[in-house]
């Protein structure tokens, strides 16, 4: 099983550029999450999705957009990159239903630097 796959692993962006961080899971999980982790800090929830076609804001959504057109994919879009978006981004997925609740499985992260 591949689990949760994030691409790219590293990226340097110039201020004002845009990019999409890709996240895919092959476990048929309904929930998917995007977090950012700043140096010495915890994980802040950016956006999450409870299923295909449904997304919702987390704690720090400004400057980001997401979509969930399929169960497998949950890309994160940065439209106008800013230095404040320099961070490590983690995607995660889990099963959360009335009868089954698993832990979240994480990707290996994308280290983004905006200069």
């Amino acid at each position: 099983n591949a689990g949760v796959t994030q691409t790219p692993k590293f990226r340097i962006l110039k201020i004002g550029q845009s990019m999409t961080l890709q996240c895919a899971q092959d476990m048929n999980h309904n929930y998917m999450y995007w977090y950012r982790q700043d140096p010495g800090m915890g994980l802040k929830l950016i956006y999450y999705s409870v299923g295909a076609g449904i997304t919702d804001k987390g704690e720090v959504p400004n400057g980001y957009n997401v979509s969930r057109s399929t169960t497998e994919d949950f890309p994160l879009r940065l439209e106008l990159a800013a230095p404040s978006q320099t961070s490590v981004y983690f995607c995660a997925s889990s099963v959360q239903t009335a009868i089954l609740n698993t832990e979240a499985f994480f990707g290996q992260g994308t280290r983004l630097t905006v200069v």
Binding site: Y33, M41, G42, G58, S94, E103, A104, F105, F106
Partner: protein, 115 residues
């Protein structure tokens, strides 16, 4: 509002001694609680979870955690620490009675085990 707190930025312990990493939570409904570990430049790995049942939960690598509803705590413990346990530990909570059933993380506690 849903939240989780890890009051210690760092915990230092000698190898062979017991360790405790503290976590308290706040949810409006019933909590699902999780502990994760992060090694340098890696994603998060699941350690253990409390969903329901016994208040003492056993997980990976000899770790365990005790759910205390009256104190709203879920402290991580290990009877005998190893140098290889040195890492960043995150507590997380889901509020299962809200419509926005998202996973929120604490700020993390760095565990340093000295030989």
């Amino acid at each position: 509002a849903q939240s989780v707190a890890q009051p210690e930025d760092q915990v230092n312990v000698a190898e062979g001694n017991p360790l405790t990493v503290k976590c308290t939570y706040s949810v409006s409904g019933n909590p699902y609680l999780f502990w994760y570990v992060q090694y340098p430049n890696r994603g998060l790995q699941f350690l253990l979870k409390y969903i329901t049942g016994d208040n003492l939960v056993k997980g990976s690598y000899g770790f365990e955690a005790e759910f205390n509803k009256s104190q709203t705590s879920f402290h991580l413990k290990k009877p005998s620490a190893l140098v290889s346990d040195s890492a960043l530990y995150f507590c997380a909570v889901r509020d299962i009675l809200t419509t926005t059933d998202k996973l929120i993380f604490g700020t993390g506690t760095r565990l340093q085990v000295f030989p």
